[in-house]
């Protein structure tokens, strides 16, 4: 057996480890690998540091490869070790803690260091960079003690740091030497729009300011500028840039310019020593963005694995970023010169901006703000360098990605793409990896490619490209896309199931599962409730609801809690109650020793911790309708006081809310439905985050749809404005029925409208005739419902299920 060669990687960061990952895929057996990392962590995603500060991610979540990964791949890892010497004659490296390792090949991936301005006072306590986990920890600690922070640098890094500090509750001033922010990624117009947005979020800016010194005694207390002015701050974050970390390479005698000089195969001037990532300089450029670093890593991995590669030819980079929730994009040369021509659209109302820069009929640069969906297309034109003469305005106004994807031009672009080019940016999957999965690993569907390479597994944005690659490489063997059914029991989609049920008039879940060839004869906890809903929706009068196909809460008409007790929420229409009802609730709560009584977010009263066997007794004593706080049905209609008492109220919001709740209570819907009615545009009932929200205006009502205040907050879309209460009832009925008939089970209105588009819903409701027909069908569905609590209380056969079995008699054998 041939002995393995020894590979040593200096630097446990994204670029170096990326190259190793790639190498392990190409040639898992050829090297014994040793990695040295100066930070005491496994390989983590540095780009996500700002999310950790902004509270979006946990430190643990940003780890790319955990400790186990190193073990599984037999990698020797030394963390907390800084390499102090490379001996190129003996081919060994030595760490500061005395560990020595021999190499046949050595990768230097020492990354970069933050550039610290050599200001007087820069050595004071409270002056830090924004580069690693330790900096983040310092910032978090500082935010607990101090109030004011100053960030030097209005570039991407500085703004990310500022956003994090703002989120930690600090007051933040951002100091920038140039007249506008992010001047390396944005032009002035886009930058001004960004600034406005960030100011609205609470960030403060000091532009055209050059820092002269840092004031304070032991700890920094602020900055003094060259113009004599000052700003206070107990934490100073320097985020003015990065510089390649080349100290070790220089010491070793490797050729160094700004970064470590490498050729197209990432080789340095010394044999068997390679450099990759932010520390490397290729054709005069040291990159700081992740995509080029991944491309370099891929080339290096191939070279080390002995796989043929054309080498790295440099990257044309684009920047696609989310800065404090705002999407920005830029690529190429976007600052205009006398030789270029530019086309622009600026929409201050919508908060979007688009500029394309042309030279000699070719697209050479672009800036997008607010909406970056055209970024990928524009970038591909910039890279291909093809003539866009005559189509400039088309490019500015944009055409859809679908059109591009379908045209033959789309695939020819894919064919021309280099193997190392990243297709899936989320998971860093290159074209070559996907091609390999298709040609050598038998992947013939997007699903199997996703399972094998992770491509398209995160945001899904690259799915059209993956499909395109399938067409190119799979040829005839391209598989039927494996359809993802509504659950593991079937490959059929919601629409197909509903169509088949209607076509064959299937009348029970059992029949549906038998006839449509379910894998599991009795389905699962996902499909059975879904089928039960679809059948009830299609045949409101004939279908007998299957209690056993309902989820626990809907079967027992109460919310199961973690300890097996339940909660009881009686209906309080519009959140308007009475002393009598309140007394009754209080008495029942006392009598049954209910451990907790709480107001819900929907203006109702919740009795929590009720034993299951007490449920029917409590319902009986309450003698109030079920509040349906447990089901996929109308939950509550929240209201504000409206013109009954409020001096701002324009309409009777309580009355309107009660009317809606009485009309729609007990309605079965695909997912829970929440309504609200506000009496004026101040919107105290928060109607604009509800499934259907009504906001009174002088002389009418605004009708809003598809809002959500839960997992993913979504403000409503305005459906229309109507004049009378009758119209409110007509539109709300029609909307709810249209939702019932078209959404997937368990799909909230917000997700549904996002999926099908607002226009589709508007179109479905646009004709009065259709609305009235929808309302008719809704009323038919409602007409067969009864109050479930009352039904259980009165029916022994149902009531028995709430009791524990009493008998447990030993049998004499």
């Amino acid at each position: 057996m041939a002995t393995k060669k020894k590979l040593v990687l200096i630097g446990n960061g994204m670029a170096g480890v990326r190259a190793i990952e790639h190498l392990l895929k190409l040639s898992p057996e050829s090297y014994d690998i040793t990695i040295f990392g100066a930070e005491p962590h496994p390989n983590y995603n540095r780009i996500m540091l700002s999310s950790v500060l902004a509270g979006g991610a946990d430190m643990k979540e940003i780890v790319i490869n955990d400790w186990d990964w190193y073990k599984e791949n037999n990698i020797t890892l030394h963390v907390g070790h800084k390499i102090t010497k490379i001996d190129t004659d003996r081919k060994t490296v030595v760490s500061n803690l005395g560990i020595e390792a021999a190499y046949d090949s050595l990768i230097v991936a020492t990354g970069s260091n933050p550039f610290m301005l050599p200001l007087p006072g820069a050595d004071k306590e409270g002056v830090i960079a924004f580069r690693d986990i330790k900096d983040c920890e310092t910032m978090i600690d500082a935010s607990k003690q101090y109030k004011k922070a100053v960030v030097i640098g209005g570039g991407l890094l500085g703004l990310e740091a500022a956003r994090g500090l703002l989120h930690l509750g600090m007051e933040v001033n951002v100091v920038h030497i140039n007249p506008y922010l992010m001047d390396r990624q944005l032009d002035e117009a886009a930058s001004r729009m960004l600034q406005r947005e960030l100011e609205a979020q609470g960030m403060q800016f000091l532009l055209k300011k050059s820092t002269a010194s840092i004031k304070g005694k032991r700890r920094a207390t602020g900055l003094v500028f060259s113009d004599g002015s000052e700003v206070d701050g107990d934490l100073v974050v320097m985020a003015v840039g990065i510089k390649p970390n080349v100290d070790l390479a220089r010491l070793t005698g490797i050729e160094v310019n700004r970064g470590i000089v490498v050729n197209d195969f990432m080789q340095t001037s010394v044999p068997d020593i390679y450099a990759v990532g932010e520390c490397a300089e290729h054709r005069g450029i040291a990159y700081g963005l992740v995509a080029p670093l991944y491309e370099q890593g891929a080339v290096l991995a191939k070279h080390l694995a002995g796989v043929e590669t054309a080498g790295y030819a440099g990257s044309v980079t684009s920047t696609k970023l989310k800065v404090s929730g705002v999407d920005v994009f830029s690529a190429g040369i976007f600052v205009e010169t006398p030789d270029t021509k530019a086309l622009k659209i600026q929409d201050d109302l919508g908060g979007t901006y688009k500029k394309i820069v042309l030279q000699d009929g070719k697209l050479i640069g672009a800036v997008l703000f607010g909406d970056t969906s055209d970024g990928a297309e524009l970038f591909s034109y910039i890279k291909s360098g093809e003539s866009v003469a005559g189509r400039e305005k088309e490019l500015l106004l944009g055409f859809s990605a679908d059109q591009l994807g379908q045209s033959s031009g789309g695939n020819s672009r894919l064919e021309a793409m280099a193997d190392d080019e990243i297709i899936c940016g989320c998971n860093g999957v290159s074209k070559g990896t996907i091609a390999d999965a298709i040609m050598n690993k038998g992947c013939n569907t997007v699903g199997s490619i996703k399972a094998c390479t992770k491509a398209s597994g995160s945001c899904g944005g690259c799915k059209p490209l993956v499909e395109g690659l399938l067409q190119i490489y799979a040829g005839d063997s391209i598989g039927e896309p494996v359809k993802e059914g509504i659950c593991g029991c079937t490959t059929l989609s919601r629409d197909e199931i509903v169509e088949e049920i209607t076509r064959m008039k299937l009348m029970s879940t059992k029949e549906v599962m038998n006839v449509l060839g379910w894998h599991n004869p009795e389905g699962c906890s996902k499909c059975r409730p879904a089928l039960n809903y679809y059948l009830g929706m299609l045949y409101p009068e004939e279908y007998v609801d299957e209690k056993e196909s309902r989820i626990t809460n809907e079967r027992y008409h109460a919310n199961i809690q973690k300890d097996g007790t339940y909660s009881v929420v009686p209906r309080i229409y519009g959140g308007v109650t009475s002393p009598t009802d309140l007394k009754k609730i209080a008495e029942v709560a006392e009598k049954f020793e209910v451990p907790l009584v709480k107001f819900t977010g929907g203006q109702r009263l919740d009795l929590l911790g009720v034993k299951k066997e007490d449920l029917p007794k409590i319902w009986e004593e309450l003698d109030m309708p079920s509040g349906h706080a447990y089901g996929k049905t109308l939950r509550t209609v929240k209201t504000c006081v409206g013109n009954t008492f409020c001096r701002f109220g324009t309409q009777d919001s309580m009355g309107m809310g009660i009317q809606l709740e009485k009309a729609f209570e007990r309605l079965n819907t695909p997912a829970k439905v929440k309504l609200a009615v506000s009496g004026c545009p101040r919107n105290c009932a928060e109607a604009t985050i509800k499934d259907f929200g009504v906001v009174a205006i002088d002389g009418g009502w605004e009708l809003h749809i598809a809002g959500n205040g839960g997992v993913k907050v979504r403000a409503t879309d305005l459906l229309c404005i109507v004049k009378t209460e009758e119209e409110v009832m007509e539109w709300s009925s029609a909307f709810l029925q249209y939702y019932r008939e078209n959404a997937q089970w368990n799909e909230r209105t917000a997700q549904w409208v996002e999926r099908v588009g607002l226009d589709a819903v508007k179109q479905g409701l646009e004709n009065r005739e259709d609305r009235l027909a929808l309302k008719d069908r809704l009323e038919k569905a409602l007409s067969v419902t009864t109050d479930p609590w009352k039904q259980i209380v009165e029916t022994d056969e149902l009531r028995k299920n709430f009791e524990q079995l009493s008998g447990a008699e030993p049998v004499k054998l």
Binding site: N520, P521, E522, G523, C524, S525, R528, P529, K547, E548, S549, R550, I551, T552, N553, R555, Y556, I560, K562, G564, K612, K800, N801, E803, Q804, L805, G807, A808, E809, P810, V811, L813
Partner: protein
């Protein structure tokens, strides 16, 4: 030593339903499946202790009401991708009287 106990009659339990019974300190969930068979397991999901008697019955499995773990009622084993096991108890149904016996 094992004891055989008369716990219920078939008519006490709905098809695809369950009732619970407490024997000494152990709570047992008794299930009636579509094929008429009766199975009994300890009423405690190995995940977070959810009451399996409240879950949805599909074939010979029950889905825990708390986090949807799927447990095979015959073997007591938790289905993949989760892992674990609940205690099962021997059951017997008198086909004439409908009496259900559980042996502990």
């Amino acid at each position: 030593m094992t004891t055989k106990l008369l716990v219920a009659n078939l008519s006490d339990i709905d098809v695809k339903g369950s009732r619970k019974v407490k024997i000494n300190d152990t709570e047992i969930a008794v299930f009636r499946l579509t094929d008429g068979s009766v199975l009994a397991v300890e009423n405690k999901c190995p995940h977070k202790g959810g009451q399996l008697s409240e879950g949805m019955v599909c074939g010979t499995a029950v889905h825990c009401p708390l986090h949807d773990w799927k447990i095979d009622l015959r073997s007591g084993r938790v289905h993949e991708p989760d892992d674990g096991c609940v205690t099962t108890f021997e059951t017997e149904v008198d086909s004439e009287s409908g009496s259900i016996y559980v042996t502990i």
